[in-house]
């Protein structure tokens, strides 16, 4: 009667927070007790029907789930191959998939009695989502954001401030997501008694990679059910962009055991993989330890972390979630890349063809869809996570297109 679960790829991490050799809890002793406390609280919440019911209510009535599954017919016709479906997570409240995770974590923080929230942000999507949930629940919020990103994502900075959050520009390093995460961890060390750190991606020390994945898996679960209802079948390919990898993990996880579904993660190739200006940790990095977990990192021969580059602030990170590193090594997920230029082209294509302005992050995923759809048949289905809307990026895009606003 009982099916052995040993063949499932969905049972990780192990009790040490490892996915194969990746993950773990590499934090200073000051944080270890709180990491263990978060793990214990999350395990209890996960099993508590009341917590799950509360989360579902907020996701439905406040975030706006389920997000629609959209058949991108004009794009399909234009590319002349596989049928392309968008999972419309850009329609969530706050405009990206980040709301799924923030809602889950803030409910956990409240359950734990924490009275102050901190977060890091790259593009500002996670920062805006966190600031939004903090406004909703009346909790003080401090968001660390690289000074470079503060400049290139100014609309989101203003949004966060309107929502009542304090935005701290981080000037160490290159002033991007990695540096913001360093400073958020430093804040947490200093305020560990009352503060909950809402990490925005499937990285950080255990239990964050698993917890964020669980909160984001609603994307893949819904998409799976929606596609089954509409087409009576699973997709042939599921595609998502990868910075830290939360939207991809959320899309992929419910399909991990469906061998017939090809899973493709698209890293940011920046100016190109053979330049030093990209963010392709899996394609060009090697395993190391940063921000609490063992994973693929962009680093030099001496183990010093290198700066990532991408036109998309949300993908501009020299690491990647540990579960992706494992899925890469066991070859369950294919990891490819798209350059800044390819993402810009896809951004414009999506806007004109489907009337949807995508964020530059999912524009990377679309750039890959553009490459593979024409090589497939009309009977095939590509499912792509359109994880964020592009309003925040119009200034960056205008500048790259030489348009003065």
């Amino acid at each position: 009667m009982n099916q052995p679960l040993t063949n499932s790829l969905r049972t990780g991490p192990d009790s040490r927070g490892r996915f194969g050799e990746f993950g773990g809890r590499f934090v200073a002793e000051t944080l270890m007790p709180v990491i263990l406390e978060v793990e214990k609280a999350y395990e209890a919440a996960k099993r508590d029907p009341a917590f799950q019911a509360e989360l579902k209510t907020y996701l439905t009535d406040y975030v706006g789930r389920p997000s629609p599954l959209w058949y991108a017919e004009r794009l399909t016709d234009l590319l002349g191959g596989a049928r392309i479906f968008f999972k419309r997570d850009e329609l969530n409240h706050t405009g990206s998939h980040k709301a799924n995770n923030c809602m889950g974590q803030i409910l956990l923080a409240r359950r734990m009695g924490k009275t102050r929230i901190i977060a890091e942000t790259g593009a500002g999507q996670h920062g805006v989502a966190t600031a939004t949930m903090c406004a909703l629940f009346g909790l003080p919020c401090t968001v660390y954001m690289g000074a470079t990103d503060v400049l290139r994502q100014s609309p989101n900075v203003f949004r966060m401030k309107l929502l009542g959050a304090e935005v701290v520009p981080v000037t160490s390093g290159a002033g991007t997501l990695k540096d913001a995460m360093n400073d958020a961890l430093r804040d947490w060390v200093a305020n560990v008694e009352n503060t909950f750190y809402i990490i925005g991606t499937v990285a950080g020390p255990h239990p964050y990679p698993a917890m964020v994945r669980d909160f984001q898996s609603v994307i893949g679960e819904e998409a799976r059910a929606q596609l089954m209802a509409r087409e009576g079948r699973l997709p042939d390919v599921a595609v998502a962009c990868i910075g830290g990898g939360s939207n991809a993990m959320g899309l992929f996880h419910p399909f991990l055991d469906d061998e017939i579904v090809r899973l493709i993660g698209v890293e940011a190739a920046g100016h190109g993989l053979d330049t030093y200006q990209h963010a392709a940790s899996l394609s060009r990095g090697r395993p190391g330890v940063l921000h609490g977990n063992r994973t693929y990192l962009l680093q030099d021969a001496d183990g010093q972390i290198e700066e990532a580059h991408s036109i998309s602030a949300g993908l501009d990170y020299p690491g990647i979630g540990p579960e992706h590193s494992w899925l890469h090594d066991i070859k369950r997920v294919e990891y490819v890349s798209a350059t800044d230029e390819e993402a810009l082209d896809a951004f414009q294509l999506c806007t004109r063809t489907e009337g949807i302005i995508p964020a530059l992050e999912p524009a990377h995923a679309l750039a890959h869809v553009k490459k593979i759809a024409p090589t497939m048949d009309r009977e095939n289905i590509i499912l792509m996570n359109l994880c964020g809307r592009g309003d925040k990026d119009i200034f960056t895009v205008a500048e790259r297109l030489g348009v003065k606003l």
Partner: protein, 274 residues
């Protein structure tokens, strides 16, 4: 007996606490950094902690972040830091040297090779900030094989239930991170320390060093009286940084200024003698 154990026994015999000054390797250049290292025992350092620069020092405040940045700019690597210890040992075979750093450069060098080479050049112990007890099995077989002390960190957040877990099998000394915070930002009160140190003593017979927020001779005296040693880092780096020119270059007197401060701290610690 290891150098660390021998030194703590000597200091204890003198009825005083130990001073453990810190320097960041290659900050701001290899010559100045080496001059500080060589001069520290003469200035009264009982043990020496050498920071291994890392791009992302998550437990450190702005002062040590800047020091790491200067060290890296000056070309610091794990191999070159080990070479500094080798050169130091040519003239000093008694002062214990502890390397402090973050895991990734060590992982990149190779945990086993790192311990082999560290032992060979005369390193006595190491503090790896982001390698908590839960993950330390990746390093312990190699430190143990060479008799290197893997120094455990205890924080104010480490409760009584967790203390024995963290301290199981520890050696050398115990490093008490006296504040919940990053380096160089705040100082613990004497009341806090007077409550915290006995709590740790119940679990271990090892000497206890107090770090984070120890800046002045008076604070060093107090910390080494309540515990067994005081670690001073950011205050020394501040002195070094204040003496650099606009391009971040050291002056001829920079090392001496740092060493003068070590001397003042050492006399603070020695003033404790009953």
């Amino acid at each position: 007996m290891s150098r660390i154990a021998a030194r703590f026994a000597e200091v204890r015999a003198q009825k005083r606490g130990a001073l453990i000054p810190f320097l960041e390797a290659y900050d701001p250049d290899p010559m100045t950094s080496m001059a500080i290292l060589r001069g520290m025992p003469g200035a009264g350092a009982d043990l020496i902690e050498i920071g291994m620069p890392f791009t992302d020092p998550m437990a450190d405040g702005p002062t040590i972040q800047a020091a790491a940045k200067r060290g890296l700019k000056a070309g610091a690597t794990v191999a070159r830091t080990l070479a500094m210890v080798r050169d130091f040992r040519a003239g000093d075979n008694a002062t214990p040297v502890i390397l402090m750093g973050y895991l990734n450069p060590i992982l990149s060098y190779g945990c086993e090779k790192f311990c082999d080479d560290a032992a060979a050049v005369g390193v006595d112990g190491m503090i790896i900030v982001d390698l908590p007890t839960e993950e330390s099995d990746m390093m312990l077989p190699f430190t143990n094989a060479h008799g290197l002390d893997f120094i455990r960190l205890i924080a104010p957040t480490t409760d009584d239930a967790r203390l024995p877990h963290v301290l199981a099998g520890s050696s050398g000394f115990v490093y008490y991170v006296s504040i919940t915070g990053i380096t160089g930002t705040r100082s613990a009160t004497a009341e806090h320390l007077s409550a915290a140190i006995p709590r740790i003593r119940k679990v271990t017979d090892l000497p206890i060093a107090i770090g984070f927020g120890v800046r002045t001779p008076a604070q060093a005296a107090e910390a080494s009286k309540i515990a067994d040693a005081a670690v001073v880092a950011s205050a020394l780096i501040d002195t070094l940084a204040a003496d650099l020119d606009a391009e971040g270059r050291a002056n001829t007197g920079t090392a001496q200024k740092v060493l003068d401060q070590v001397r003042a701290l050492a006399s603070g610690v020695r003033g404790v003698a009953a």
